[in-house]
């Protein structure tokens, strides 16, 4: 049987995406118990390979694997053979000799997960590849929306605001939000809206004048680390904050605010919004654990509904 990778949100059809969300929901009670562990993936080996710094993604993948009783280990680029000039191909070949079931990989370059998948029999889960994809983030965003807004997301209007150009979250979310029937608008400074983005079926706004139409406002931070000095994507963070920062004045009642983190208070999000009850940022973090458990589980057992029974242990 061909192995299952999760490299891009486009690898999933609607039913599969919804099955992951349902599976995540079924894991929620486990996370409320005193003993937060099930034996579902006992004896399975999961390697987290992180070539780029990460707090929430790495910790939640690691904890998700542990909650499912899998053996897990973390490999970071710094301090490993990668520092000694080993290529991605050779690192993957080396780690694959341990026969892992899943390799969770974050890498600064686009398509690194797909490349890695060519050299291993393990399933590869993309935990972020440069500016391209971050499918588990998208799934946890969808999960958070379902918890907050109800199971059907069809027809909801989402505005993704900020640095779209450098954002793998935006690319995953656009595809995933559309997959579940949502209407997506991207907004931000023109240099940070990728040319040709309309071809993905999104609307483009360069101002927040019509923000009131949004049911969900999804904020992105300015990825200064991906902007070359002198590239002039924005004149200043101060001007960005005044034009595009999310503030109480811009919030219509009933709107939900999301952000993949880390947030920059006072820039894309005002402190009042960050701490506002309609802001779902901590819910997103919490959802990350259940959703990543579901992703690991589905990667091993598959997307066939019938195999859901195996989850009996949960």
């Amino acid at each position: 049987m061909a192995k299952r990778d999760l490299l891009s949100i486009d690898d999933l059809n609607r039913a599969e995406a919804e099955l992951i969300l349902d599976t995540a929901e079924s894991f929620l009670p486990v996370l409320q118990r005193d003993i937060k562990k099930v034996p579902t993936l006992r004896g399975r080996t999961i390697i987290n390979m992180f070539y780029e710094s990460s707090t929430r993604t790495l910790t939640s993948f690691e904890l998700a694997a542990k909650r499912l009783s899998a053996d897990t280990m973390n490999v970071r680029a710094a301090g490993s053979a990668v520092d000694k000039g080993e290529s991605l191909k050779d690192t993957i070949l080396t780690l694959s000799a341990y026969q892992p079931d899943i390799i969770v990989m974050r890498h600064p370059q686009i398509g690194a997960g797909r490349l890695a998948s060519r050299y291993t029999s393990a399933s590869v889960i993309n935990a972020g590849d440069g500016k391209f994809q971050h499918p588990s983030q998208c799934l946890l965003d969808l999960f958070t929306m379902r918890q907050a807004l109800g199971r059907s997301l069809d027809g909801l209007k989402v505005w993704i605001v900020g640095d779209i150009l450098h954002s793998r979250v935006a690319r995953s979310d656009i595809a995933g939000f559309q997959l579940l029937g949502m209407d997506v608008t991207v907004a931000g400074p023109p240099p940070l809206i990728p040319r040709g983005i309309e071809s993905l079926g999104v609307k483009v706004e360069y101002a927040l004048d019509r923000l009131a139409e949004a049911d969900v406002i999804y904020l992105l931070r300015m990825q200064m680390e991906r902007m070359q000095a002198g590239a002039n994507f924005i004149p200043s963070l101060r001007e960005y904050a005044s034009l595009y920062g999310m503030t109480l004045e811009r919030l219509r009642s009933g709107q939900k605010v999301m952000h993949p983190g880390p947030i920059n208070r006072g820039i894309e999000i005002s402190p009042e919004i960050a701490d506002h009850p309609d802001t779902l940022i901590l819910e997103q973090v919490e959802a990350g654990l259940a959703v990543r458990m579901a992703i690991l589980y589905r990667t091993i057992v598959g997307y066939d509904e019938r195999s859901t029974d195996e989850r009996g242990a949960a």
């Binding site: 686009i110 690194a112 690319r171 040709g196 071809s199 070359q228 590239a231």
Partner: protein
């Protein structure tokens, strides 16, 4: 000061190629004929020719006999990166693709920026190259964009033209000076048009596909803005300018205006820009990463129209071998370039001729006589008295491009896994059989 090509010597072949459909638009030839080659020269073209003595007979029913191809834009990687290509393997690849002359770009290590480097290369070509090989010299020392090379001495040593290809000319003033000196040397200046500030850290064409993938975009204007600048300089200096690997419709608009003004400007397009589009990059296959990048369908169509009308003078491969380990990395980390010599005819035959976008005769003209004219070497020709520079093609053979079958030392072909129709089966260059498919 003539342009030189160098290759190993050898005795001219005696050969009778019988029953092929010979196509040579220079003589409006398109008919089934026999071609007799004696001591490496075409002795007779006609019907019912008989072999005498030890003359080898090649029965070529159903095959195409074409004047051999000329490549104005090859990266030979020698000297310096012989692990990627050397003159022997480049010749083997060229011969397998039906080429009878290739011209190497100057961006080697060291750069071909002095007569001694060029003379050293010429010696190696005379010892190793089976297909006649010539060389560009750099415009600026070490391609650094500063001091001009000694262009006169390099031209005397046989350089075909001058180019800093691989990198754009740093300043308009450098191009101006090069075009001025090119008049003294009777050579052209070939420009890799690229505005670095617009190119940024882009790795593929900027458009719908890059928006989806998140890959840094190279806007079409990164090429066309520099084309416009180069044409302005060429106009002012009445200079002999050649535009390398034109890839966008915007550039073609500038070029068309230059033609209307009567400027002495020539231009080439690559097989990959003529047949592939940026949608291929969805695969994130690093073999599809080249500079200029694959463009959208509209640009490709405009390029084909330009090749047809003659606005684009010729096909050139921009054959760019890269070591396997350099390409087995994520797309962004891979170097730019695809090989092209072995697949050029098959890709264009499949993509343009069989799809009726271009006639076979025009394709042959654009791959053979046109580049030879720009280079300033005799055009390969199917006519009695001409040197035997020929290739024989099986137009029906369907083949899949497989790394193991390639003759180049590098396998970074944009066509790996593609099924092509039409394959070179025999190549005669400078009167010697340089390739024969087993």
């Amino acid at each position: 000061m003539t342009v030189h090509v160098w290759s190993k010597g050898g005795v001219g072949v005696d050969l009778l190629i019988r029953g092929a459909r010979a196509v040579d638009p220079q003589h409006e030839l398109d008919q089934v004929v026999d071609v007799l080659v004696r001591k490496g020269r075409i002795a007779e073209v006609g019907g019912g020719l008989e072999a005498t003595g030890r003359t080898r007979v090649v029965e070529a029913d159903g095959k195409l006999l074409l004047p051999g191809f000329v490549d104005l834009h090859t990266h030979l990687r020698t000297p310096g990166r012989e692990d990627e290509e050397d003159l022997t393997t480049a010749s083997a690849a060229a011969a397998a693709g039906g080429y009878v002359a290739v011209f190497g770009m100057a961006n080697t290590e060291p750069v071909v920026d002095s007569a001694p480097v060029l003379e050293g290369l010429a010696q190696r070509a005379a010892a190793e190259a089976t297909v006649p090989t010539g060389f560009f010299a750099a415009v600026s020392k070490d391609l650094a964009g500063g001091q001009l090379t000694e262009m006169h001495e390099l031209a005397e040593a046989g350089a075909v033209g001058f180019s800093d290809d691989g990198v754009p000319l740093a300043t308009a003033q450098l191009l101006r000076r090069a075009l001025q000196y090119a008049k003294v040397t009777d050579r052209f200046v070939a420009v890799h048009a690229q505005d670095d500030s617009l190119m940024g850290s882009g790795v593929m064409h900027e458009g719908a596909v890059s928006a989806k993938l998140g890959l840094g975009g190279i806007p079409a204007i990164a090429e066309s803005a520099d084309v416009a600048r180069a044409l302005e300089v060429a106009r002012y200096e009445d200079g002999r300018l050649h535009l390398c690997h034109v890839s966008t419709e915007l550039s073609l608009e500038h070029l068309a205006r230059a033609r209307e003004l009567g400027l002495a400007v020539t231009a080439e397009a690559t097989p990959h820009h003529l047949t592939l589009t940026d949608e291929k990059v969805y695969s994130l296959d690093s073999n599809l990463k080249m500079n200029p990048p694959l463009r959208p369908a509209g640009d490709r169509a405009a390029l084909v129209m330009a090749l047809k009308s003659g606005l684009i003078d010729c096909v050139a491969t921009d054959h760019a071998p890269h070591a396997q380990q350099e390409k087995e990395v994520p797309f962004e980390a891979a170097p730019f370039g695809t090989t092209g010599l072995e697949t050029a005819f098959a890709a264009l035959h499949t993509g343009l001729v069989l799809s009726k976008e271009l006639s076979l005769a025009l394709l042959v003209e654009r791959m053979s006589a046109a580049p030879a004219r720009i280079a300033g070497i005799p055009s390969p020709s199917i006519a009695s008295g001409a040197p035997a520079d020929l290739c024989l093609v099986d137009p029906k053979e369907r083949w899949t491009v497989i790394a193991a079958d390639l003759h180049s030392r590098s396998t970074n072909s944009a066509w790996l896994g593609e099924s092509l129709r039409g394959r070179v089966v025999l190549t005669v260059a400078a009167g010697r059989v340089v390739f024969e498919r087993a």
